[in-house]
């Protein structure tokens, strides 16, 4: 502890200690995060696969396996390409039961995201599942579980028009109790905006997807490994 060295050395030591401590802590933290990430990665991927599978099988009744495809403006591409991922779902004996597509539209508070099942043979929607929403609890959030509302989507008419470039009838939500056609969605009383969001999401998605799917039906009709099934 001589007077000559005290000040500059003390400064250096402190600076070095600060850098050393922060560096060591950051390195250890990085190591820990990487370890946890590596360990949980396969589990999280499996969870996501199961979640998607459950949702797909829920919106396509009778399905037990699936293969992933990508929908582009020019048609279907194999999974892994850029574009909207769709899930072709098959029964136990490999017959196409329907195609599950994701859709979204602005709801009352935020975007309502949903998955719906489209059956190319009856040209209709067979079921929906709300994936993500922040609609008002007790009112708008009924779109996820209200049985009468969900019954709209048991066989929702989505026929192609004569030219084959869109739907014959726009899928629309109508006020509660005013449903007269199979392509209309009977809105929940008190949750009209949320119901409209669901109808709009499906309509917008199918106007584009239904013609493409009908054109490319042969490619997905039977389950092949081409589509990258699990």
């Amino acid at each position: 502890m001589s007077d000559i060295a005290s000040t500059p050395v003390a400064q250096n030591t402190l600076g070095f200690r600060m850098v050393r401590t922060l560096g060591a802590i950051a390195m250890l933290s990085g190591l820990l995060v990487v370890l946890v990430f590596q360990f949980t990665k396969p589990i999280i991927a499996e969870n996501q696969r199961v979640a998607i599978e459950q949702a797909v099988f829920q919106v396509v009744p009778g399905a037990t396996s699936r293969s992933d495809w990508v929908l582009t403006d020019s048609g279907l591409a194999t999974s892994g390409s850029d574009g909207e991922v769709i899930y072709a779902a098959y029964s136990g004996d490999g017959e196409l039961k329907g195609v599950a597509l994701a859709a979204g539209a602005q709801g009352y508070q935020d975007i309502v995201k949903l998955l719906y099942g489209y059956d190319p043979s009856c040209q209709c929607v067979r079921g929906i599942k709300i994936l993500k929403m922040t609609e008002t609890p007790g009112l708008g959030d009924k779109i996820a579980f209200d049985p009468a509302f969900l019954a709209n989507f048991d066989t929702l008419d989505a026929r192609l028009n004569g030219a084959g470039d869109g739907l014959a009838n726009t899928i629309v939500a109508v006020k509660h109790g005013r449903k007269t056609h199979d392509w209309q969605v009977d809105a929940i009383a008190g949750a009209t905006i949320s119901s409209v969001a669901v109808a709009n999401a499906i309509n917008r998605s199918l106007q584009r997807a239904a013609p493409l799917l009908q054109r490319e039906l042969d490619r997905i009709r039977t389950q092949t490994n081409e589509g990258g099934a699990d």
């Binding site: 402190l14 200690r17 600060m18 401590t21 922060l22 802590i25 950051a26 250890l28 933290s29 820990l32 995060v33 946890v36 990430f37 949980t40 589990i43 999280i44 969870n47 996501q48 979640a51 993500k132 008002t136 609890p137 007790g138 009112l139």
Partner: protein
């Protein structure tokens, strides 16, 4: 720099219990209000949030206590934040691995544990000054107190706002749920009611103490 021997606390039952009652982070210190109000709309969310926060609190407090003499005080806050953020990331991945539904329900609030002032407050006020075992016990107590507080909000809000407890119906069939209780204002209502109760209990106890002190003087 061999610690501050005069200020270290002796381990006792009180080290743990203080977090539950006397210094409850939510009801007494009013810290970490953001998750308290935001994710207590159901009992399950409250439990998950409480456990996640407790894990981060205990793990970061223990680590900080362990290396408290190695951290220069100029960079202590930065060090605490890095350590807390690490454990929050660990919890974030762990919850995704345990249940995606739970992860979606808790949303951004898992990541926001990093900004929970209970944790940084404990690191600065306790873990950086106390020995390992007292820090472990104290942070466990604080975590339990935080979880208890979330739970007391979550159960009330779920029962009144949805008529269920942990998803099971507990109210009579003709019960009309008070939807406001699971909306944000319900969080403020229920928190206010609990704070009122705690303030009333404290006031009553203080009055009793005052009377006991006054009694011999009067006699």
């Amino acid at each position: 720099m061999a610690g501050l021997p005069n200020q270290t606390e002796k381990l006792s039952l009180d080290t743990f219990l203080r977090g539950l009652w006397e210094e409850n982070p939510v009801f007494v210190m009013l810290l970490g209000m953001c998750p308290v109000l935001a994710v207590t709309n159901s009992t399950m969310n409250a439990i998950a949030m409480g456990l996640a926060t407790t894990f981060v609190l205990v793990a970061s407090s223990v680590l900080i206590s362990l290396i408290r003499n190695l951290i220069p005080k100029q960079v202590r806050i930065a060090s605490y934040i890095v350590i807390i953020a690490t454990f929050v990331t660990v919890v974030d991945y762990a919850i995704q691995a345990i249940s995606l539904d739970l992860y979606n329900a808790l949303g951004a609030f898992i990541q926001l544990i990093v900004a929970n002032c209970v944790i940084l407050g404990r690191a600065e006020a306790y873990a950086s000054k106390q020995r390992l075992h007292t820090t472990l016990v104290n942070s466990l107590g604080m975590g339990a107190g935080f979880t208890l507080a979330l739970l007391s909000l979550g159960t009330v809000r779920e029962v009144l706002g949805n008529g269920t407890l942990l998803g099971y119906a507990v109210m009579p069939a003709d019960f009309q749920p008070w939807v406001v209780m699971i909306l944000p204002p319900g969080g403020f209502f229920v928190l206010g009611a609990w704070l009122l109760l705690f303030a009333w209990l404290k006031q009553r106890r203080d009055q009793r103490l005052l009377q006991q002190e006054g009694a011999p003087h009067a006699g």
